[in-house]
């Protein structure tokens, strides 16, 4: 059967030049048709690519180049800008507050990955038990916190974590005599933020894991059981490898989301909080760019963060390749 492309090609107005027949593949089937390249307008592909390239250049490439230029300037709004060379980057490398923000962000990320995800997986495994009644209801209950925005979560937990009158301190005081003045939002800011994020995202990640668990082959599980593998061995050697692609995706999503953290501490603490315990990289960037007006320094922060994350991604990729090898 002639490929449709051959008919299409022959209808285009193009001079018939002696061109070789080239294989054209459609999905899994390579079809050898008489596609004559010279019959097509050679500029056609560029016309088709043009809209995307224009938008990409305008909204991605140009801002990127502009932000590099901006990072070498000190600004007070768009009109006042002075070239300062690498001064912003040099200052940033010695900026204790920036590194504090990086440290806070990394700690929060670790809390997300090492606390939230195992909890999500555990919940998913519980929900995946055969014969469980009300699975849909439980899934909705666990997933529903992620339906409200981070700003709402921050406001709710701001009230929960209040000293002396907050739900948590009052409840624990009544039950176990806990200190009602326990300063969650003054001295234990990071645990408070991790708890709030845990409440919001555990259900969200649980849904991914549940979907992955439901696709684990039951035959493999049964075969492993027949071979004498216990529950732990089945989990480590059957379940985990089967859900690894989804788990990798969820981990990556958590890391990216954690590094973009801004609304939760901004609404919960009104900024970085006492001793900047809740200051994150994006918040520091915002404070410098939009509160102080120094867009140049903010751009430098953005680029340094991009370099740090890029380095991390490269190292992770190399380690993964080494592991595969």
């Amino acid at each position: 059967m002639k490929a449709p492309l051959a008919t299409t090609a022959s209808t285009l107005a193009a001079p018939a030049l002696p061109t070789p027949a080239v294989p054209v593949s459609f999905g899994d089937h390579a079809v050898h048709g008489s596609v004559r390249l010279g019959d097509r307008n050679p500029r056609a592909p560029y016309f088709f690519l043009a809209p995307f390239l224009v938008i990409f250049a305008l909204f991605t490439v140009y801002p990127l180049i502009q932000s590099i230029v901006l990072s070498t300037q000190q600004t007070y709004g768009p009109r006042s800008a002075r070239f300062v060379g690498a001064s912003n980057f040099i200052t940033l490398l010695h900026d204790a507050l920036f590194w504090k923000a990086v440290r806070n962000t990394v700690v929060f990320t670790c809390g997300s990955v090492f606390l939230q995800l195992p909890l999500s997986l555990g919940l998913a495994m519980l929900l995946n038990r055969p014969g469980l009644r009300g699975r849909t209801t439980f899934r909705l209950i666990f997933f529903s916190p992620s339906l409200v925005g981070l700003a709402f979560v921050a406001m709710i937990f701001g009230l929960i974590f209040e000293k002396r009158t907050g739900l948590l301190n009052v409840g624990l005081h009544r039950i176990v005599g806990f200190n009602p003045d326990f300063p969650w939002l003054q001295e234990y800011v990071m645990p408070a933020m991790i708890l709030a994020a845990l409440w919001m995202y555990v259900g969200f990640n649980m849904v991914y894991f549940l979907a992955a668990l439901q696709n684990v082959s039951r035959d493999l599980q049964e075969a492993a059981e027949v071979d004498g593998a216990g529950a732990w061995h089945r989990f480590m050697h059957v379940t985990i490898p089967a859900i690894r692609p989804v788990a990798t995706f969820v981990v990556l999503l958590s890391i990216i989301g954690s590094f973009q953290l801004f609304e939760l501490p901004y609404v919960l603490l009104g900024g970085g909080g006492p001793d900047n315990q809740g200051l994150t990289v994006v918040m520091y960037l915002y404070q410098n760019g939009f509160e102080t007006g120094d867009l140049g320094y903010a751009s430098a922060i953005g680029w340094l963060l991009a370099i740090l994350l890029g380095t991390f991604a490269v190292v992770q990729r190399l380690l993964a390749k080494a592991e595969e090898a």
Partner: protein, 466 residues
């Protein structure tokens, strides 16, 4: 075979479904409508404010102005954040702005960060001096609106500070506040009020509402003690004995065996409940906070009294300052003369002084209105005291402040210094202010160096200095 025109049209129509084409059509039509539709603009001047209480007072005054004067004024109430963003956007990017803007101190400082010629407000220095208004105003009230010797706004207030206490609790304990002159006197006199009321081993009542995270109150105490963040030339003066003394004392008040203070945050429901419960017996109270408490804490009516702040030393200052608002005219205003006439009419009128005090307890910065009788009216909320007169007695002694755009940065660094000092006190079990003084100086030096580093980075201030 050439495709027929009908086939081409059919292919084009088939590119999208009927629903898809409907959406495209609606999008195009609404785009045209939005672009072409004229935005209705009210004629006259526009004024922005972020204080709801102020609009209640300004509305009748604006209506009176509009009845007799031109151009008319349109008053808009917008949120503080929105006002700050629109103001900075207007200054930096020439987006539409009001003709008159009422700005709070923290927001106004951001307008002074760049080159002096780029400050978006009109320089009113010459106007104030030539018209004699400068001499009519309480001089310290101009400080926050003055940058590099130029005055950019009319002050709205003075904001002297007193100490507000639970008279029902204090007088029942037999404490005579007239004998209290210094903070040491206060700590000793009020210490017997610290009690465990429910038998759980933890105090349920403290003498003072203050915490190591109460940045505004700590700045207020520093100003009272003669400290400051910047000098007249806007160079940082954070590392001083006065500032160190305040930090050391605050640490001894919030931690250790001589603790007298607890945290009942202002502007929160939980803090209000703690005040009603008597968890904290006294609070640092600027005049504007009186109006807030009247609104939020009607349960405390008749239970409160005001006293001058205890001084840091005998014969020292018995007041401080907290907050502030100004009225500025952006350079983009199309009718400066009319805006200036309206601003003077609003801010320098006796009507405003009277209504502002009646509604919010805020005393005017215009000295010629200070003797007026409405400041002497007894207030049942404060157990029959006349708060206005009490605040005005202290008004001439209000400390000087600067308008440095680095003020928020300095406050944040001082906050860090205080937190480090507290950590030091807990690690070394050292809660005596005298023992903490050296460490306080060390932390304040670090804070000052960090602020100086940021100031020295600012190329625009260097250009102005040249």
């Amino acid at each position: 075979m050439r495709r027929s025109k009908r086939d081409s049209r059919r292919r084009a129509c088939g590119f999208l479904s009927f629903g898809g084409w409907s959406i495209v059509f609606l999008a195009c039509v609404t785009t045209v409508i939005v672009v072409v539709w004229p935005i209705p603009r009210r004629p006259g001047l526009t004024m922005w404010t972020a204080a709801r209480n102020h609009t209640l007072i300004y509305d009748p005054m604006v209506q009176k102005w509009n009845a007799h004067q031109t151009p008319r004024v349109n008053l808009y109430l917008i949120s503080q954040d929105a006002l700050a963003r629109r103001m900075m956007s207007g200054f930096l990017s020439d987006t539409p702005m009001a003709d008159v803007i009422e700005v709070e101190k923290q927001v106004a400082g951001r307008a002074f960060a760049g080159p002096i010629d780029d400050v978006g407000f009109v320089d009113l220095t010459d106007k104030l001096r030539s018209s004699g208004i400068y001499g009519e105003l309480n001089t310290p009230s101009l400080g926050p609106w003055t940058s590099r010797g130029h005055v950019f706004g009319l002050p709205h207030d003075v904001h002297p500070v007193m100490l507000c206490y639970r008279a029902d609790i204090v007088e029942a304990a037999g404490i005579d506040v007239s004998k209290i002159e210094t903070w040491d006197d206060f700590a000793e006199a009020f210490r017997p009020l610290i009690k465990d009321l429910d038998g759980d081993g933890r105090p349920d009542r403290y003498a003072l509402n203050l915490w190591h995270t109460s940045t505004d109150q700590i700045e207020t105490l520093m100003l009272q003690a003669g400290g400051n963040f910047f000098d007249e030339n806007e160079r940082p003066t954070i590392d001083t004995d006065a500032n160190a003394r305040v930090l050391s004392t605050v640490v001894s008040w919030v931690e250790g065996p001589r603790r007298i203070a607890a945290d009942a945050p202002e502007f929160t429901a939980s803090g209000n409940q703690l005040r009603i419960d008597g968890y904290v017996v006294s609070s640092i109270m600027p005049d504007w906070l009186c109006g807030v408490w009247k609104q939020d804490l009607p349960q405390l009516k008749g239970k409160l009294k005001l006293m001058p702040l205890p001084a840091w030393d005998r014969g020292g200052r018995h007041t401080s300052v907290w907050g502030g608002t100004m009225l500025g005219i952006p350079k983009s205003s199309k009718n400066f003369d009319a805006a200036w006439a309206f601003a003077k009419n609003l801010y320098l009128s006796e009507d405003l002084a009277r209504d502002l005090y009646a509604t919010t307890n805020i005393v005017t910065p215009v000295k010629k209105f200070w003797p007026k009788a409405f400041y002497d009216v007894p207030d049942p909320y404060f157990s029959g005291q006349a708060p206005g007169r009490r605040y005005l007695r202290l008004a001439p002694d209000v400390p000087r402040r600067t308008s440095s755009p680095f003020n928020p940065l300095a406050k944040a660094r001082v906050q860090d210094a205080l937190l480090e000092l507290r950590r030091y006190a807990l690690e070394h079990s050292a809660f005596d202010p005298v023992r903490l003084h050296a460490e306080a100086r060390r932390q304040l030096k670090i804070a000052e160096d960090l602020v100086r580093e940021q100031i020295d980075r600012n190329v625009f201030l260097k250009e102005t200095a040249k």
